[in-house]
């Protein structure tokens, strides 16, 4: 166990190092330079561009830029090129905005997909199972932006509530209850949209896991000795089918920072995805690289946690 932890930490640090190199190269070898973002702007004289390049070490060779950037990153001094704000502070603010979306989306995903998947597995081949299967394919295939517009049209026409943004403009003066309802309406659609693909995939996965376990000998034994079907399904089968899902708690961690670029742009939600999009448009390299680095760290921590959980939960696994 200890040796596994040590080995995988070393491995992950090496991976992270290469990730940092690759992401840096991708961004800096692409044609164009951040100093040329706005060539038509009369304020961008030659001297300004030179000063800009010098300020952000863009006139140095690539490996020096790399060292400067990661030195700043680890000492927390990285600043955005756009507005000179510290990168971590900016990311943290946006992260707090994205967090409610992530939490509600995750809760929706896990609470909807389990009952659906379990029921499909129990009534395999029935009309419920087949329609659930078809709907999950439908949800995987529907483009998020199109679904978003359908939902917006539906909600706006049926319930007459505004849904764009984090809250209705000027809502501050009204009473507490109205404000809470307003927040919930604004939160509901984007988080539901963020959860759709997850619901579809996870419910299929729950179904196949349940089917796998339901075919085992001990479930047949439990049925044969005359246990009530509920007890067989939920006590004998479900408990064993849950095993792989414990590990998925680790894998949802990267979703924390992912944020959906498209959904957040449609709903004008000032979250991480939207910030990434703005940073890409403005060629704000420090923000892009920092986001990338943080998300790589989260992916690695997530896989690490899921490996550990697997070992804890399933004594047969020896890594």
């Amino acid at each position: 166990m200890i040796s596994f932890i040590g080995r995988s930490i070393v491995q992950k640090i090496i991976t992270l190092f290469f990730v940092s190199i690759v992401s840096f190269l991708i961004i800096h070898l692409a044609p164009g330079e951040p100093s040329q973002v706005d060539p038509m702007n009369p304020k961008f004289t030659r001297e300004m561009v030179e000063r800009f390049r010098e300020e952000f070490h863009l006139d140095k060779p690539l490996y020096r830029q790399y060292l400067y950037f990661y030195r700043d990153l680890f000492s927390g001094k990285t600043i955005s090129w756009k507005d000179n704000q510290p990168a971590f502070k900016k990311i943290w603010e946006r992260f707090l905005n994205s967090l409610p979306l992530f939490i509600v989306g995750t809760i929706l995903t896990w609470t909807i997909s389990f009952p659906v998947g379990i029921r499909s597995a129990i009534f395999r081949g029935g009309i419920y199972d087949r329609s659930a299967t078809f709907f999950s394919y439908l949800l995987i295939s529907i483009p998020g932006f199109f679904f978003a517009y359908i939902l917006i049209m539906f909600v706006v026409n049926q319930f007459h509530v505004p849904v764009i943004g984090m809250e209705t403009f000027g809502i501050g003066e009204t009473s507490g209850f109205n404000r809470i309802m307003d927040r919930i309406w604004h939160l509901l659609l984007p988080s539901l949209l963020g959860a759709t693909a997850g619901i579809a995939v996870l419910s299929r996965f729950v179904r196949s896991q349940m089917l796998e376990v339901e075919g085992q000998d001990y479930v047949r034994t439990a049925k044969a000795k005359g246990l009530a079907p509920d007890q067989v399904h939920y006590k004998h089968a479900l408990r064993n089918a849950l095993l792989p899902f414990v590990t998925m708690f680790g894998l949802i961690l990267p979703g924390l920072i992912g944020g959906s670029v498209i959904i957040e742009s449609i709903f004008a939600w000032p979250g991480m995805g939207r910030m990434a999009y703005e940073a890409i448009l403005a060629r704000d390299y420090p923000i892009i690289l920092t986001l990338n680095f943080v998300s790589a760290v989260l992916v690695l921590i997530g896989t690490f946690i899921s490996d550990l959980l697997y070992m804890v939960v399933d004594p047969r696994i020896r890594l």
Binding site: I27, S141, F146, A276, I280
Partner: protein
């Protein structure tokens, strides 16, 4: 005729019979049972021909259906309306005589634009997935077949010299680059010399250092896969596409270069198990070359899971392209794609909902049919699943 056939059949009962159905027939028999997959395949074939028709009908200077022709007199007409004949100039009258999917805010025929966009979706899906499958088969094949072989210091030196040489050449340092490239050639020569001398039992210390084993090829490839998996995929694609000049080919290449990890893993896993099987051992015993073993014997057997993941990969590539067009990246404006038709139409979502629904439903149907087709293939090609169902 039938009679004689059965007679012959009776006579030959003693001889060993080949399976009556060929592989393809067997495959088709199983595939037919999955009605959703059949529907997916039919839609896929229809889409394929529509896209080709769209490509031929909308290209050239005077296309049959002009997707870029602006008719401001006829803007935002709902689907299935007739054009306003009095107010249109002769060359502006649509050839079909009707706006099947209506017109957009500039009076362009949405049907023509959808046809043009279908070709983009089709090529993006196929080219991107083609690239990723080729990379996947190449890297996965190397990792699976040669995986246990270590990389030696000498080979590392050659690679390092080659790499720095190319980088120097790119940075227009012709002299330094050429010198370094010559260095790599020298390294190759040294390797050959050492290999020749290998028959001599006592090797010099330098030769031993030259042949010192570092990590295995498999480790290198799979670590590289791990590294690529650390990037959030849509974010990575978006970054690269935004930094590169806008062009449909860039999108195809970028999607292909960022989605090969799954195919690599599949191919490697298949190769690892196939390599130990008897028919490969037999092929090797017959003295076939590695090249022939890999391409004639192993790849045809490893291709099934790759095919499945490729079909589903096409679906997700089409979705990704639509998402990028929606955000305004990719194909430059006058050219229509399903994503940018929808993105242009979103401003008129309450007045002209067809501008949102036509491309949205088209994307939905195509992606759904690819997904269903892929899942059907998976069920048929995977004998384990087949027995359970």
């Amino acid at each position: 005729m039938e009679h004689t056939n059965t007679d012959m059949h009776d006579n030959q009962l003693d001889e060993p019979l080949a399976p009556k159905r060929t592989r393809l027939e067997e495959f088709w028999r199983l595939f037919k049972q999955n009605r959703l997959a059949i529907a997916g395949m039919v839609f896929f074939i229809v889409f394929f021909f529509l896209a080709i028709a769209g490509f031929t009908l909308t290209r050239g200077n005077t296309p049959v259906l002009d997707p870029a022709l602006v008719r401001l007199q006829d803007k935002l007409r709902p689907p299935l309306t007739r054009p306003n004949l009095e107010r249109l100039r002769p060359h502006e009258i649509p050839k079909l005589g009707i706006y099947i999917f209506g017109t957009d805010d500039l009076g362009r025929d949405v049907f023509a634009r959808m046809l043009q966009g279908s070709w983009v979706s089709l090529t993006v899906g196929f080219v991107a997935v083609g690239i990723s499958v080729l990379i996947g088969i190449f890297l996965g094949g190397i990792a699976g077949y040669y995986g246990s072989r270590p990389i030696r210091i000498g080979q590392l030196l050659v690679l390092a010299f080659l790499f720095t040489g190319v980088v120097l050449l790119i940075n227009k340092l012709i002299w330094a680059g050429s010198v370094v490239l010559i260095g790599s050639a020298v390294c190759i020569l040294i390797s050959i010399q050492i290999k020749k001398a290998a028959s001599a039992k006592s090797r010099s210390a330098a030769a031993r250092l030259w042949n010192f084993k570092t990590i295995s090829i498999d480790t290198v490839v799979m670590r590289f896969v791990d590294i690529m998996l650390c990037f959030p995929s849509f974010f990575l694609i978006l970054t690269v596409v935004a930094l590169l000049p806008a062009s449909i080919y860039n999108i195809m290449i970028v999607i292909g270069l960022t989605t090969w990890m799954g195919a690599t893993r599949f191919v490697r896993a298949e190769f690892l198990s196939l390599r130990e099987q008897d028919f490969v051992a037999a092929a090797r015993a017959l003295g076939l070359s590695n090249f022939r073993i890999i391409f004639r014997h192993m790849i045809p057997n490893a291709v099934a899971p790759v095919l499945v993941s490729a079909t589903i990969g096409i679906a997700s590539a089409i979705l990704t392209e639509a998402g990028l067009s929606f955000l305004g990246f990719g194909v430059p404006p006058p050219h229509a794609t399903w994503g940018n038709i929808l993105s242009d139409g979103k401003r008129f979502i309450f007045d002209a909902p067809w501008l949102t629904f036509v491309p949205g439903i088209a994307i939905l149907i195509i992606v759904l049919s690819f997904n269903l087709f892929g899942e059907g293939l998976r069920d048929v090609l995977n004998p384990k699943l087949r027995e359970r169902n």
